[in-house]
């Protein structure tokens, strides 16, 4: 009888004591559930201490400040124009190995290991091009282009390098950083850098396997309570 529907019981009248007992239980059941919900601590979303990121690490300044025209270099703690010295002293046909000055310069530019491949021997405030002409330090990209033609092509199209200021080429703010604003011409390869902190977000992909799974489990608050290898 306990399984009968209420409408059937209403029609039958007597003989529904079991069903009546079930009716008594509805109130206490609600009460119990309500107390349980109230007594439980709120389902706090686990929040992890996330590392703060320094503003300086996300600076948008170019990597380098290249020399101007005329170039002014700091040598032995004092600012000089190149020809202050090189206008007086005869320059030797030298290589990096026997430099007495500019020893802070490490020339790591592949096969390009001679100062005068790029620097003009007569006027040290100019750069020498392969055809014998010179260019200024502020227009060094044509010098680079002599060997790195493909990169120059990509750079002038915007596929290589960095365009800053504006996305519209017609906008006056639109400008491309030159080669030497990112690359050190003496050692153009970028050194590896320290990455900024990894994510600590709640959902960040399948934990994967092995070492990565352990790292993610450590970082993902929701995974801390789940079974090893479980998905979220």
């Amino acid at each position: 009888m306990a399984g009968q529907q209420p409408s059937t019981r209403e029609a039958q009248g007597a003989g529904s004591r079991w069903a009546g007992a079930a009716g008594y239980l509805i109130g206490p059941a609600f009460l119990l559930i309500a107390l349980l919900i109230l007594a439980l601590p709120g389902a706090a979303i686990p929040i992890q201490q996330t590392p703060a990121v320094d503003r300086a690490s996300i600076s948008i300044a170019p990597r380098r400040t290249p020399l101007g025209d005329p170039p002014v270099a700091v040598v032995n703690g004092m600012a000089h124009r190149c020809n202050d010295c090189h206008g007086i002293f005869e320059s030797r046909e030298n290589s990096q190995a026997d430099l007495r000055q500019h020893t802070d310069i490490k020339l790591e530019h592949g096969l390009n290991n001679n100062c005068y491949n790029c620097h003009d021997r007569k006027d040290r405030e100019k750069l020498a091009l392969h055809d014998g002409s010179t260019t200024t330090f502020t227009h060094s990209e044509m010098l680079c282009a002599q060997c790195h033609g493909r990169m120059y092509r990509d750079w002038s199209r915007g596929a290589h390098g960095k365009t800053m200021g504006a996305w519209d080429p017609a906008n006056p703010g639109f400008h491309r950083l030159t080669c030497v604003q990112c690359h050190n011409p003496h050692a153009p390869m970028f050194d590896p850098i320290e990455p900024l902190p990894a994510p600590h977000t709640l959902r960040m992909g399948d934990p994967g396997h092995g070492h990565h799974a352990e790292i993610q489990k450590k970082r993902n608050p929701l995974l801390q309570w789940s079974e090893p290898g479980g998905h979220e």
């Binding site: 109130g27 590896p192 994510p199 399948d206």
Partner: protein
């Protein structure tokens, strides 16, 4: 109802009135003729249970702070597309007041409209990306994302060389220095699809694609159902499970003004204005910057120039040149979402030394190596 049904048969006392009048007649004090000890207990326990259940259901309200409850005007605010200029200005004024109250900073918020003849496209050079995550954190700083809990629009995957299967990528690489020579790095953010699955599933049309190709969210219209998050094949949408905070409680305790300093006061209605608990957010190509001609924050911070942005309708823009001259691909092209976010590789330099992956089983056709040998 069900309580009354069983009246009059167990004890027979209430038969005179219960059958004709409703259950309401039984609610009075015990003086009523139909009320017995048993029926009083039944009613009383039922009512108490119901009240307790109701209290439990509304108990989250006890955690509400004064600023959490929207005022009537905010509550009645229309959908972004239905607001006229005066209503939008009033909405912006309310946002200004709210932000000033919460952070002590008066924001410069506007509703910046899309520009005519502009469709934004992003391109990313995977040969250059070194996985430094500067874009991730510049984006967070620019767009006022929650720091605690952490919300980030950009994910950077560390990928083994020789595959573009993003299932093999790892978000959690933790190296002293990047890049690692055995890996390449693939940042993923909203692809601003031309055929976006996320906007189709929104039950309230709180997210849509603007004429310049940017998919946006009206944070005041979003109901937080997270359908769009489930629909996005690129995992580009983020949900505010809690009230977003620009600093952790410890940081705020140590320095109460830290949130105000971290807040970027340059805002627009559809982009980086502060969000609330329970709404969805996503990358919007920094539209408060890009719609005024500037570059997105992630691009400007990139230390290797891997990121490219521009107007694809302009044949002389950087992105047009890249689409014309580079071999680009999109993620999950087969599902037909038509992303406006393109990846490309540089040709391999024929004079470069073999990369490590070539030594342990890499293929000549792997993407990082996909050079056309006779290139200039």
């Amino acid at each position: 109802m069900s309580l009354r049904i069983y009246e009059g048969k167990g004890d027979g006392l209430g038969a005179a009135c219960t059958c004709d009048h409703g259950g309401s007649s039984r609610g009075g004090p015990g003086a009523r003729p139909g009320m017995t000890r048993r029926s009083f207990l039944r009613t009383g326990v039922g009512a108490a249970g119901g009240l307790a259940a109701f209290a439990a259901a509304i108990s989250p309200l006890k955690d509400l702070a004064s600023g959490d409850v929207p005022d009537l005007d905010t509550f009645l605010q229309k959908h972004y597309k239905e607001m006229n200029a005066q209503e939008m200005e009033a909405a912006l004024d309310r946002i200004r007041a709210r932000v000033e109250q919460r952070y002590g900073v008066r924001p410069e918020i506007r509703d910046i409209k899309p520009m005519d003849g502009v469709e934004f496209v992003y391109a990313l050079n995977l040969s250059r990306c070194i996985g430094c995550r500067k874009c991730v954190h510049a984006c967070v700083a620019e767009n006022n994302q929650s720091r605690d809990p952490e919300i980030q629009y950009i994910r950077v995957l560390e990928m083994p060389r020789g595959t573009t299967d993003i299932e093999q990528g790892n978000h959690h690489y933790d190296r002293a220095k990047v890049p690692d020579e055995n890996h390449y790095y693939m940042p993923i953010q909203c692809h601003q699809c031309a055929n976006p699955p996320c906007t189709k599933v929104c039950p309230v049309q709180a997210t849509w694609t603007e004429p310049d190709g940017v998919t946006v969210v009206d944070y005041d219209w979003c109901i937080g159902c997270r359908y769009c998050e489930a629909a996005c094949p690129y995992w580009a949408r983020r949900f505010n499970f809690t009230k977003p905070r620009l600093a952790s409680p410890e940081e705020i305790e140590a320095d109460p003004g830290i949130e105000a300093r971290r807040l970027n006061p340059e805002m627009s209605y559809l982009s980086n204005r502060p969000r609330t608990k329970g709404v969805m957010e996503k990358c919007h190509f920094c539209l408060h910057r890009t719609r005024t001609g500037r570059m997105p924050a992630c691009l400007e911070v990139c230390p290797v120039g891997a990121r490219k942005f521009g107007n694809v309708l302009d044949p002389h823009s950087d992105v047009s040149n890249i689409l014309k001259t580079k071999r680009v691909f999109v993620l999950k092209a087969e599902i037909g979402t038509l992303p406006r976010f393109f990846y490309y590789f540089d040709e391999r330099d024929p004079t470069a030394q073999d990369l490590p992956a070539m030594e342990h089983g890499g293929h000549a056709d792997e993407p990082a190596e996909s050079a056309t040998g006779g290139e200039s």
